[in-house]
Subunit: 141 residues, 2 copies
DNA sequence: CTTGCTCATTAGAATCATTCTTATTTGATA
DNA sequence: TATCAAATAAGAATGATTCTAATGAGCAAG
């Protein structure tokens, strides 16, 4: 229930209604898709997976749901290169590792204090409210 | 002349010819525009500034030149949000600070060793060849 | 219950950054 | 100077996203 914990399908309804929004089947489905397989899919990939469950859902709705979930802060939009935005349901402070061989993206948990340490490099007058860290490279195996 | 120094308009010709590419007026102009005002402009903004100097230059050529300069590693392409790619001639290791009030982007020099320190958070099996750090917030002034 | 509203979804059009295609120009080299 | 690959230019095409307009669903009086 802390600010940085990851939402669950169960807590989603509360988050939405608490924000004055409706917990629709489409919003729940889109969130469940992100929650089940944390592979940072694009909107289009979410759409493909969603259609398997709900054949009538539209791409526009997937975009709308993703935007709503981002506004509610239960999902993060990730952009580390030109190309489609990717979506991540992990709300813990974490970095992203982009495997250049496979194109896949992995979450890297951050040790407590790291973000604060990194913020100390900012000159006086710069006030950061978020820090994003992106690694690029390859993974063994 | 070290690997991480920033290219100058003077060194550009060498870099290009050393890569088997021609030092064309368009490439030099595009680089000079980035070098003179380090405000991380988009391709379109570079195009506007370039036309003032060289009215016949085309947007396609600006894109081509920028891509060439990125390939030669004298310019960095920066993407920290959906939206047009921005270009940066600073080749020193640095982070980006995105001022959410003004939309402007500032370079933040990194103390030596910071990137290596950040890399120590990677689990075994992850080999990063680059680390990108993006701050978002506001600046005093 | 029904009506009335507001929110949400849908389909398709529009937008915008970027890439591609094709023709033309340039410039180094033989 | 002729050759010919590299580079530029103009416009078309692409692809992700956003917008528009119409339809549908759920709640809140009446
Ligand atoms: Mn997408
Ligand atoms: Mn651009
Ligand atoms: Zn993530
Ligand atoms: Zn920069």
């Amino acid at each position: 229930m802390s600010e940085t914990s990851t939402a669950t399908p169960e807590s989603l309804t509360q988050t939405l209604t608490g924000s004055g929004l409706r917990a629709t089947p489409q919003r729940e489905l889109v969130f469940n898709i992100l929650f089940e397989k944390r592979d940072h899919p694009t909107a289009d990939e979410v759409f493909t997976r969603a259609k398997a469950e709900m054949p009538t859902i539209s791409l526009a709705t997937v975009y709308n749901c993703l935007e709503t979930l981002v506004q509610c802060r239960v999902v993060r939009a990730v952009n580390f290169e030109r190309g489609p935005t990717r979506y991540c349901p992990n709300q813990r402070p974490h970095a992203h590792f982009h495997d250049e061989q496979t194109g896949s993206t992995h979450d890297i948990d951050l040790p407590p204090g790291l973000l604060d340490h990194v913020k100390t490099i900012l000159p006086t007058g710069y006030e950061a409210n978020s820090v994003e860290i992106i690694f690029r490279g390859k993974t063994q195996s």
